[in-house]
Symmetry: none
Subunit: 221 residues, 4 copies
Amino acid sequence: MTAEVRPHLRADARRNRDRIIATATQAFADDGPDVPMEEIARLAGVGVGTLYRHFPDREALVVAVVRDSLATSLARARAAADETAADETAADGRAWDALVRSLSPSRELRLTMRLTVLFSPGMAAAVRADPAITRIRREYAEALDALIRAAQTEGSLRPDVGSGDVAHLLALAAYSLSRGLGTTAEIAFDRARAIILDGLRARPTTPLPGHPLTTTDLAAE
Amino acid sequence: MTAEVRPHLRADARRNRDRIIATATQAFADDGPDVPMEEIARLAGVGVGTLYRHFPDREALVVAVVRDSLATSLARARAAADETAADETAADGRAWDALVRSLSPSRELRLTMRLTVLFSPGMAAAVRADPAITRIRREYAEALDALIRAAQTEGSLRPDVGSGDVAHLLALAAYSLSRGLGTTAEIAFDRARAIILDGLRARPTTPLPGHPLTTTDLAAE
Amino acid sequence: MTAEVRPHLRADARRNRDRIIATATQAFADDGPDVPMEEIARLAGVGVGTLYRHFPDREALVVAVVRDSLATSLARARAAADETAADETAADGRAWDALVRSLSPSRELRLTMRLTVLFSPGMAAAVRADPAITRIRREYAEALDALIRAAQTEGSLRPDVGSGDVAHLLALAAYSLSRGLGTTAEIAFDRARAIILDGLRARPTTPLPGHPLTTTDLAAE
Amino acid sequence: MTAEVRPHLRADARRNRDRIIATATQAFADDGPDVPMEEIARLAGVGVGTLYRHFPDREALVVAVVRDSLATSLARARAAADETAADETAADGRAWDALVRSLSPSRELRLTMRLTVLFSPGMAAAVRADPAITRIRREYAEALDALIRAAQTEGSLRPDVGSGDVAHLLALAAYSLSRGLGTTAEIAFDRARAIILDGLRARPTTPLPGHPLTTTDLAAE
DNA sequence: CATGAATGAGGCTTCATTCAT
DNA sequence: GATGAATGAAGCCTCATTCAT
């Protein structure tokens, strides 16, 4: 689950650290961003002291949770991309297919994106300020850029959108994840995604305002 | 700003009540749903006691804020609808135009929708339980239903979507409102909206999963 | 209900004052000594402002309630005493009979005595410091003293007790008034009183410690 | 001072818990049932947090105080009873002597009984609802019942009273404990108790109303 | 290192009292 | 005079964080 390596950490300590992150992720998803630290420690089966030994304060824990989740998601996305690239049987529209998968973020990634909305302004700033997170976001953005250029080259994606636009729509779809996990919510999500994809595939009707957004444009927000 | 009338309320008290609601709306938008009551009181220029005289607890204040915002938005939407109906110059595609406006919620409505996501489960439940809010939501839903049927009849809206789908996409767009108010955010919003609209106008390519969602489907979520 | 006369008070103001005292007495009896001022005002059908016009603070109201109750009780006790004194048919043991009546305080007096126990130390001090209340207590004590001497003279009351002892026992009996008004409570009270009376009538068996207490001894407590 | 044992509690925590109970008992006795929690914590030399760690809310603290006090009193009463039972030199009237001791509750028990009168209805209900307290009260009642039957059998206690009557008189005497600790108060208490005892020893003169009360009758009140 | 007890700042709410209408 | 709105100090409780065991 953890994608960053901290060299000098005894096996049991490492196990504790991982369990705390996993538990916190689940707790944030279940109970929202205000779960008390003691509750997280309890759920992880450790004392608060241990929690604080690994993460000096709540902010550090939150950053670790987001970092871990993004790293995992990125790793998975890359693995999938490699498989796809190696798949010689794919028809044309291969770049479009990859883009479609980008708009189908894993449940875990969606939870993380949702969290970043729910966290308080201070937490959100801390998350954005984390170098590792920044790096992962940049790599995501680069991958998305490549995908988009390929799809536009192959003619399957409308030419007047940029990676910022797609990332934005991706984020929108992800936010829709409601706390409840009903299948209705999942169906609503899938339907919305399909409609958005049709919008992305469409020939432009009326010109979009401004110019194609890059992910950098969004980050400046 | 206030759309509900409480008959027997001294002028000064009424003024305070309105100011508290306006201040709280702003404070929630700026600092999230956890702004301390005392902070809200301070920003409104009143003592905590006054705040609590008008709203017996935090829940009551939140409900009042949402109710007020929704009521205002509904009133404006209706006024706009009347004007539109009276506009004899509109080309064909009139229903579509109205639908487009539905996907352009006012900044205030967008803030409110954002709030409903941010509130804790308890608050969200209290908001949903409020009769006035329930009524407004129902009226909104009914208006949207009519709009959608008309647009589908005139052929401008794809036939495989329901009011629930549109409401969902509307909500997605609204959530996108970031805390910051930069024009970039506004442009990103407008571009996303246009793309979504293109998706709604599109001839279906691959069939959508499930069946057209009604707003009732969403509420059951 | 009010036994003190405040000369220059308009009739309606006087009526308000009386109603507030009566209401407060009832409210203290029903809900304990912490009833909010606003609640008392509401029950009395006046605004808080009016309440505060008549009684500058909570202490003043409490003192007025106790004073009024004691004054009424004293007046009634005197009226009863006069009637008794005039009753020529009474057998011997007349002083004893009067004493018995002393140990049967009216429901109102019992409530008041109970209140003085329940009030906070500060309130209790304020009550004890009130000159009118002090005077009434003194008059009560004097009446009790006379009664006791007479009863001891006629041989119906054991000689080794003083007015302080009787007042103390009287207070004990009064405290027994529970909040609930069940008849069981009343019967328990009557039985306890009868047993205490038997104790007062008894020939001493073992000598009592100390010496007969006067009411002054008690007040010094 | 503490009679209940909580097995798994660190020594220092246990010490704190005990000190908090002792301090709270004293504080309630001195300043009434409304002493602020923070004041209790301060007097106990701990932070509020510690107080709340041991007792989740004020009610829990009050219940613990009463439970502890009653348990201690019961334990002492039993120890005394055992000694008495072993005392072969006692003259006849042994049951009566035991009853006399029952009417001489320890200072601590008297404080506790006083508290139960002073507490608000809610607190009183919580105290009555506590299983440990209920058990102790029942055991007290049973012991009193046995004592009373024995005394009536040996002819030293009037036959027309029940355990409820004695418990009631016991409570009355206990309530008399004034806030101040003057020796006058103690003497007044002792004298009142002696008089009440004479009343209990007396041959009935006029019949008591109702029938002998059991402790169950009182509890139903 | 792990544990969980202790701390205290901070948020929510109540209510005695004051003051504008 | 009467009214009830406004005020803010004070009490209850929670929880992030520190520290002794």
